[in-house]
């Protein structure tokens, strides 16, 4: 280990700016540009709706796309929340949809005509985050001392139990019927999303995502965030460094759950409807796919993953399907005409999961440390370690840089 650390320092030597600082400045500029673009996205549609001017993009950026974009926001929140649990703390959660369900139902029960309780959206946003975080604590406290696979299975169990309860406690949750008529958020007398206008929800999603990105970013660099990553890398070593692993893991679980409560409230308000089928195992896997595809542990990667998968499912696949069917008609291939890609989304998810694990397990935008773990043959650290084990003397002769500090 001594050698590898020296090797790392040797590479960084000679740079005026440490690579981390340069990378963070670059990503800040990217985020700024992206943010401005996202803020402007609905403008053509607004101008068209107000009959001021019809810009060339207005037809494409119609209400449906903006609607999908607002929903994508909810899934970005979910992916960011799950990323805390899976990506930062390294705890595989296969039942994350359970917390999403609890969040959505908290809002649906406390802010709808179902029980005639109408707590304002802005209060509920934090209240249901608190409720789900408490559930996260309750589920996590007895189970988080389990390791790896066992934890995955227990979370899967929660993911199955929560919808079962929602389905069967029909006094509270309206059972299979689901809860409809969920309140829309309002600022003073202005109701967001009145008259099925999605632009308000789009901006709300943007604001919520920005808020959570800010929080997650701060958390990641905090003492707690570093403790999560230390546990992910090596729980035993982290514990011997004085990290209270139980409390740290519990906080990851509970904060991750809290963010899904946040997402659930928004999702419930946007959809206006909550039913138990929205929160099954597939939903948990879908969110997990976003995290893995994008790059576990990398916030921007996870956001990219959420955008790609959600848009793939709602927009791209349907488009692609039409193209394939048209192609089939043009070429007179019956198979292509009848192919229905959107009903076979799970084939695609399955294949994507397997292929990514086989060829790019670190995801599209990987977290740098995970990439090195997953492709050890390419890193200097691994080479140094290998030489250390098998051929110490030769390694020292060949590379004088590794000798220092012993």
């Amino acid at each position: 280990m001594q050698q590898s650390r020296n090797l790392g320092a040797g590479q960084a030597r000679g740079n005026l700016f440490p690579p981390a600082a340069r990378a963070s400045r670059r990503s800040m500029i990217t985020a700024l540009v992206l943010g401005v673009l996202l803020l402007l996205l609905p403008v053509p549609e607004m101008l068209r709706a107000a009959q001021i001017v019809t810009l060339p993009g207005a037809g494409f950026l119609n209400q449906a796309i903006i609607n999908a974009a607002a929903d994508t926001g909810a899934f970005i929140l979910l992916a960011l929340g799950l990323n805390i649990v899976v990506g930062y703390a390294g705890l595989l959660d296969l039942g994350y949809a359970a917390f999403f369900a609890i969040g959505t139902y908290s809002y649906a029960i406390l802010a709808s005509s179902w029980k005639e309780i109408h707590i304002p959206f802005w209060v509920m946003l934090f209240l249901s985050a608190g409720i789900t975080a408490l559930f996260g604590l309750a589920f996590g406290a007895p189970t988080l001392r389990l390791r790896g696979d066992y934890l995955a299975i227990v979370t899967l169990g929660f993911g199955e139990i929560v919808p079962t309860f929602i389905l069967n406690l029909d006094q509270l949750t309206a059972g299979t019927n689901g809860i409809s008529g969920i309140d829309k958020p309002s600022i003073g007398s202005f109701v967001i999303g009145a008259n099925n206008d999605n632009i308000g929800f789009y901006y709300l999603a943007l604001a919520l995502v920005a808020l959570i990105i800010f929080i997650v970013n701060r958390l990641r660099d905090s003492r707690l965030g570093r403790a999560w990553m230390a546990i992910r890398e090596d729980e035993l070593a982290a514990a011997s460094m004085g990290i209270n692993t139980t409390v740290t893991k519990l906080l990851a679980f509970s904060l991750g759950a809290g963010i899904s409560g946040f997402a659930g409230t928004f999702y419930g308000a946007h959809l206006g409807f909550a039913s138990p089928e929205q929160f099954n195992f597939s939903q948990s896997v879908l969110i997990l796919c976003m995290v893995i595809l994008g790059g576990m542990g990398n916030m921007w990667g996870v956001i990219l993953g959420a955008v790609i998968i959600y848009l793939l499912q709602t927009v791209l696949l349907i488009q692609l399907n039409n193209w394939v069917n048209d192609l089939g008609r043009a070429l007179h291939v019956d198979f292509l005409v009848q192919l229905n890609l959107s009903s076979n989304t799970f084939y695609i998810y399955g294949i994507v999961l397997v292929l990514f694990m086989l060829f790019r397990p670190e995801g599209l935008l990987p977290n740098s440390r995970r990439r090195e773990e997953l492709h050890p043959e390419s890193t200097a650290i691994e080479q140094a370690e290998r030489q250390e084990v098998y051929d110490t003397r030769e390694a020292q002769q060949a590379d004088p840089d590794t000798r220092g500090g012993e």
Binding site: G90, L146, G157, E160, I161, T164, V354, M357, P361
Partner: protein
Amino acid sequence: MAFHFDLILLLQQLINGISKGSVYALIALGYTMVYGIIELINFAHGDIFMLGSFTAISALELFGVNTKAPANETLKDPVVVVAVLFLSLVITMVAMGLLGVLVERVAYRPLRNAPKLAPLISAIGVSYILQNAGETWRGPSTVNFPAVFVEPLLQIPTLDPSRFLTIRSKSILILVVSLILMALLTQFVQRTKMGKAMRATALDRETATLMGINVNMTIALTFFIGASLAGAGGLLYGMFIRGVQFQLGFQAGLRAFTAAVLGGIGNIPGAMLGGFLIGLVEALSDNYLQSQWTQAVVFGVLILILVFRPSGLLGQRVAEKV
């Protein structure tokens, strides 16, 4: 809720539970063997069970069983029944065994030295692919499983002269076939050289390699055996329940996995015990609670075991490898 204790009903449920439990035990064996040897929760295993059921339908068709026929128009000659069932069982087991080996080769072997999360996620992916393959093959609705033979019912007289304890002959068949397969498996693992190689690989893969054991072969063999037992389970389950659906594998697989954990994962007798216990829990919960709660009850059991006795009923506490 008026609760009135009915011994005959209870016995009836216990019998149902044991026959269902023997199928869970067969599936659980596959989970436990694979976990024992490469520490992977093979998520695709339940879907192999489901495809086993579908394959069994095709195999039975191949031997002239009319799958569309009503339950009373079935094979009559007992010799033919036994021969057809045996051959279908063999075909299903071999086909599923090969599928298991294929899955291992394509989706798990390249990831053997990757972090633990990678093969687990790959397994979830395979599970989705197989589930969709099942849907493409037999459609989304429940598929009729042929009755194969008209089953005589055993009516056992009870103290109450107006009531009988009914035992379906198929539940006896399931139990007997499962017990035979489990006995064969135990003998194989304990007595043969290949079984010894499997145990050695499970204990320490590197040392096993040094002892001249072909580890890749041994792991492939484990997958073959596990998947073929799931295939056998698929045939038996289909014959018992008479209806199979492509999502069956997820549910049954999770229950079987619970069984494996209950018995102590990696432990072969434990998986059998766990299977029977989960079958009983399910039958009792179906009867004394409402069946829609069964899923929650089974998972409640799983969570309680994992929290209070993670090594399972028959498992031993293993020290954490550092």
